[in-house]
Symmetry: none
Subunit: 417 residues, 2 copies
């Protein structure tokens, strides 16, 4: 089945927004068995959009349109598709109720523009938007199906995972069933992972192995064509075993919506242990990342951001002499911070981050020099040094993720039985 | 002048690589006066690429092709364009010498595939590649020009900056100089802003006004066509004044690379004031956002993450009776947290965030109920309530940004003279 993606929005054409939706949708569509032959981007212009829909309809069985479902008059994707299909637009009652409730709660008047976000196309199926207001649409014409999705990735992604994939799977011929499994790795770069698995990646056709590099991690997507789920799982298990024997040390979890942070929280929950932290370099990013996980309050108490040395003394009671002798970016300071974070909050684990984010050196240490302290109530305190590269933002992010991984490994190691 | 971008590569179509080249090229081309109407992506397939070049040639005066100049047989962009233009390919002697030298230095044999990277199109102009081996091409046909660039951004960008821009500037009429200005707003939604400025946006053609919604803010880009910078600035000033008279309350700063957080840090720096915070709901996100700004250490000391009530008592010394009587998500608790954060860190301002991130209610309060406390050494302590919508991540992010804005306004108001 051929699919193509049309992203709509002048902001894409003038280079203000990167078309990450096309990347996301492609990976997901390929994962369930579509072949993608084209991506297009067109501005908020009815004539050009309609012409492109016409062209795409000649060559693809599925056309995914994303963007242009907002409340302004620029947002015309739905209107243009309805016009092309010669169908009227109709109000989705559930979508409308959601918008009405939202407006009432925000104390605002419902305008005609707000109402437009609940419009779908007659003969089509409304797709609920769990994280936003614009309703999606799935419309099946004779030879081509049309899928209309909102532009913001935070709305498009959950809509795709939870509502679109089940819909599309029904469209695909039963013999072509594809099953896929995502393995997630941290602490190894994409090129290194590909090098280690070179033979497998190149010789393997069923399942196929495709690597995807994220900001601080790598995912491998295994995709297998099989007649049923049991056979598929057996084939995937076998391939996974081969992969694990080579790079299993870096593996941390499964699944597209998973993350190293979620796995860390899961490990703490399974072990019934709590964590606190003291952050200098990352200024709260580690704790904020934990706070993003639903249900984290059972394992996370709180902690300290001690950006200055004065705060390290005053909030964490770190000895002035230690700071004077070793400096803030040091093994000794990372250990003291981690231990104090743990003790002062009565937690089972304490994590500390201190380092040089840049752009300038600090205390004679180079940009990217990072110490991570990890204190455990059962096995004492240790610190780990990393020399990270790139810019301030990446150094902070990468340090936070490394601290998360150290904590996760420690929790699993100590609570194995 | 109309331009469009065609990116070539199967890795883009299966979602392994994000098409950041289109974003980069668009911004640069718009900056020198081109209008971009289309982006396309096509795989390493001659037939589909040739068809797309044909379509694009009907509608654009400049077609930028990027990717598919590598040494493998998949890389066919140059061949397909030569075929479309009915021109033979010719060897660029300088490009060839560079490849030959490189191969000799690496101790490798020169293959036919290596040699192909030095091919350009007869009648066209070779564009040197300062950071790679594949030669670019600029070819002017009667109504359309074709630009062929390598795919890797580290080759494409320097080639564009150093060799392409000078070439293209010669193509453009001198009267078409474009100047733009970005105004940033917080606290008003895109639809509301567009509604307020409806007449201006629709009636205005020079400058044009384009709204861009971010996650928690809106930008307006004013773009003016003028003969020189002075005239452009006068026209932009005049339009800005009209905009400000209607939505100036929400304006916070200028520029594409600016942010509400940077402006808050700037206000603190100008006033020589420091801030600390106590975070429950956001678990460190407010402080981490500050930490992302270079040079923030002069105005930011640190603070507390008090996720549980126990931590509010233990780290912030908040009265158990207060928590029992009012609960953690309350005006009283937000005020106490803000004041304690300020006093315990000896800062000029204290900011507190407490609320219900969801997915479940807490203490009988609905998801999205947020109290932000703001304590000032000079004007006392106050708390502000917000009822936010959407998911956990958005509620936390949005609360953090509102706290940032409250702080920024307070700092500016108190340090005006």
């Amino acid at each position: 089945m051929r699919a193509e993606i049309i992203a709509v929005g002048t902001e894409l054409l003038i280079g203000q927004v990167v078309n990450t939706n096309a990347t996301f949708l492609s990976e997901e569509l390929v994962g369930i068995g579509y072949d993608i032959y084209y991506h297009s981007v067109v501005g908020d212009n009815s004539e050009r959009l309609k012409e492109l829909i016409g062209q795409a309809s000649q060559r693809s069985e599925l056309i995914v349109l994303c963007g242009g479902l907002g409340p302004t008059e620029d947002d015309l994707t739905r209107d243009v598709l309805a016009d092309y299909l010669k169908e009227p637009m109709v109000l989705d009652p559930e979508g409308y109720d959601k918008i009405a409730t939202y407006m009432t709660r925000s104390g605002r008047e419902m305008t005609e523009n707000n109402r437009r976000q609940a419009l779908t196309i007659q003969g089509g199926q409304a797709i609920p938007n769990d994280t936003g207001l614009a309703v999606g649409t799935f419309y099946q014409a004779e030879t081509t199906s049309y899928l209309v999705l909102p532009g913001p990735p935070r709305e498009l992604k959950p809509m795709f995972y939870h509502h679109v994939i089940p819909l599309l799977k029904q469209q695909l011929p039963q013999t072509d069933q594809l099953y896929s499994r995502v393995l997630r790795f941290f602490g190894i770069g994409e090129s290194q992972l590909v090098l280690e698995l070179e033979t497998l990646i190149h010789e393997q056709t069923n399942p196929t192995i495709a690597p995807y590099a994220g900001d601080t991690e790598v995912r491998l997507r295994l995709t297998v064509k099989a007649t049923d789920e049991t056979t598929a799982n057996e084939m995937l298990d076998e391939m996974e075993e081969k992969i694990m024997s080579q790079v299993g040390d870096y593996f941390y979890g499964y699944g597209e919506e998973n993350s190293l942070i979620k796995e860390t929280v899961k490990a703490l929950q399974a072990a019934k242990r709590t964590v606190a932290s003291a952050e200098s370099l990352t200024a709260g990013m580690f704790m904020s990342a934990l706070g993003d996980v639903t249900g984290v309050s059972s394992v996370f108490n709180g902690g300290f951001v001690t950006y200055t040395n004065e705060m390290k003394r005053c909030l964490l009671k770190i000895d002035s002499a230690l700071l004077a002798q070793h400096g803030a970016v040091s093994e000794a300071c990372a250990c003291a911070m981690a231990e104090q974070a743990r003790l002062l909050t009565k937690s089972d684990y304490g994590v500390a981050l201190t380092g040089v984010a840049g752009p300038d050196k600090s205390e004679g240490q180079p940009v990217g020099s990072v110490w991570i302290g990890l204190s455990s109530a059962t096995s004492g305190t240790q610190a780990y040094h990393f020399q990270l590269q790139r810019d301030r933002q990446y150094i902070r992010q990468s340090a936070m993720m490394r601290a998360m991984d150290l904590l996760r490994r420690q929790v699993i190691a100590e609570n194995h039985d």
